[in-house]
């Protein structure tokens, strides 16, 4: 019995593990709640694109010693402008212009990060370093969690109305453009904060997978958001256990647990529907 308890508590014995746990809980609650709306607003591709496109900003910030969040924000801005500009080129669809811009920016970021003259450790930007979060990072993640949850609470009815039927939303006093913009801003903020813990490649997992999983087992938005946040938190903690005992990379372990949760929800939802 005591052995089981030790197995459960050992990863959190030192401050590094405890900070990592707090970080994944905060990011899990934020990403979990947000991911339900991301899934229903078909923003998964946008989330992935934005995450990848802000890499050069992160790399330049890391190289010059600026705060990562400032670099990430600048990277997001450049990416948004570039996508808008590429969208103006005739005969290129929106999908294609996004793909071209994102690939270019991501490639540029990788080139910078992995060039021989760059200091080692920039790989952490790609795969995250959840075990290296500082107290300042935690404060940032906590602030983000509060902001996103409050904003989602205030916007709940409007997000439902626009997602349900965008064309008749204006007659209900809801402007779809404003709601879309608010959701995109929340997505961008969540990306900026979460990318530091989970890395450029894996951040998408926490912004998409929990909502995708919760959608399979829940038929109302409010419980779905609760389930999604729970999935994200449990998968985050599970990933840290996996990382601790199997010696795997923390960010990748969390992403793997999130995907496992999605698959389990798929099987569970299928069984429930069949019975």
């Amino acid at each position: 019995m005591l052995a089981v308890l030790h197995t459960l508590t050992d990863p959190w014995a030192d401050p590094v593990g405890r900070r990592a746990l707090v970080e994944v809980v905060l990011l899990g609650v934020t990403g979990g709640a947000l991911s339900c709306w991301i899934v229903f607003y078909n923003l998964s591709y946008s989330a992935e694109s934005l995450a990848h496109a802000l890499l050069p900003g992160l790399v330049i910030a890391a190289l010059t010693g600026l705060p990562l969040i400032a670099g990430g924000a600048a990277g997001l801005l450049v990416a948004a402008l570039a996508v808008a500009a590429a969208g103006q080129v005739p005969a290129i669809g929106r999908d294609t212009s996004v793909a071209v811009v994102v690939t270019t920016l991501f490639g540029a970021g990788v080139l910078l990060a992995l060039s021989p003259s760059s200091p080692p450790g920039l790989g952490g930007l790609l795969f995250g370093d959840v075990l290296g979060v500082s107290n300042a990072d935690l404060a940032l993640a906590a602030g983000l969690a509060v902001l996103v949850l409050v904003a989602l609470g205030l916007l709940h009815g409007r997000l439902l109305a626009v997602g349900f039927d965008r064309t008749s939303a204006p007659s209900l006093g809801v402007r779809p453009v404003v709601v879309d913009a608010a959701l995109l801003v929340l997505l961008a903020l969540a990306l900026l904060v979460a990318v530091q813990g989970l890395g450029n490649l894996l951040v998408v997992a926490v912004l998409v997978a929990p909502g995708a999983a919760a959608r399979l087992v829940s038929r109302r938005m409010a419980p779905m958001i609760g389930a999604s946040a729970a999935v994200a938190v449990v998968a985050g903690a599970g990933g840290l256990y996996l990382s601790y005992y199997a010696g795997t990379a923390a960010g990748a372990s969390i992403a793997a647990m999130l995907v496992a949760a999605y698959l389990a929800a798929g099987v569970g939802g299928g069984i429930r529907r069949a019975s």
Partner: protein
């Protein structure tokens, strides 16, 4: 009953023209909707019914003429346009009508929930308040959207082809619900393909890229108007008052 002469119209259009870009797709629309009246908006696909509704809702600016509209419209769109996989109950959808009645920072509370349940009761769906919207039948979904308009307390309700795809009992049920709404003094405008159904309503507005006619169905709906509205030949079918309208190039 009020004397129609003393009533202020809920909607009034005068020489209205509308379109997209520089192209006018609808011209010369003049009509008034009085409280407690049902107007059937008739016309072929592309005849301008949707364009007229978009102008009334303020989504499209008139290119000419004037239009006076109430502060709030209730809109009952075709339910195929809403996402049937969306995780909302009938009650959630009815509650959406309370958004415009609340300040932006307030979420619907007990009072709004009661109003939404009352509205569902009024459309005969109180028992299905917890059902998923997408699981309801087409007629039930239409009635949930009517309930949403009731929660908005909209003086005018616009319905877009509400009878399409409804079986006879559902259509009758919706028809009597529309009669109740007008009895409460609301104005109702119904875009429809069904000429015979529109004969039962107070007025018809016939559109085919321009206004063909507006008035009481008995006075307005003759062969000439129907031909101009639908641009086709009217075929008299056996039996009284039964017309078939054949579009000119119907393949």
């Amino acid at each position: 009953m009020h004397d129609p002469g003393t009533l202020t119209p809920l909607v009034r259009a005068q020489d209205l023209a509308a379109g997209y870009g520089a192209t006018r797709v609808l011209t010369g629309v003049s009509f008034a909707l009085l409280p407690g009246r049902r107007i059937g908006v008739l016309g072929p696909n592309g005849g301008g019914k949707t364009t007229l509704f978009r102008v009334l809702l303020g989504e499209l600016a008139p290119m000419a003429g004037t239009v006076e509209v109430p502060v709030r419209f209730g809109v009952v769109p075709q339910t195929e346009r809403s996402r049937l996989d969306f995780p909302v109950s009938a009650l959630d959808v009815a509650l959406m009508g309370s958004i415009s009645t609340l300040p932006w920072w307030r979420r619907p509370g007990r009072g709004e929930r009661r109003a939404a349940l009352d509205a569902l009761q009024a459309v005969g769906l109180r028992d299905l308040a917890r059902a998923t919207f997408g699981d309801l039948s087409g007629g039930q979904r239409q009635r949930v959207l009517v309930a949403r308009a009731l929660v908005q307390d909209a003086p005018v309700i616009l319905l877009d082809e509400p009878f399409t795809g409804l079986d006879a009992p559902s259509a009758e049920r919706l028809e009597s619900l529309l009669a109740e709404l007008t009895a409460q003094g609301r104005g109702v405008m119904i875009a429809t393909h069904d000429v015979d159904q529109a004969r039962a309503w107070d007025q018809v507005l016939c559109l085919n890229r321009r206004q063909i006619a507006f008035g009481a169905p008995a006075a307005v709906l003759d062969r000439e108007v129907l031909e101009a509205t639908y641009g086709g030949a009217i075929v008299e079918l056996p039996g009284d008052h039964v017309h078939g309208v054949l579009p000119p190039h119907h393949h």
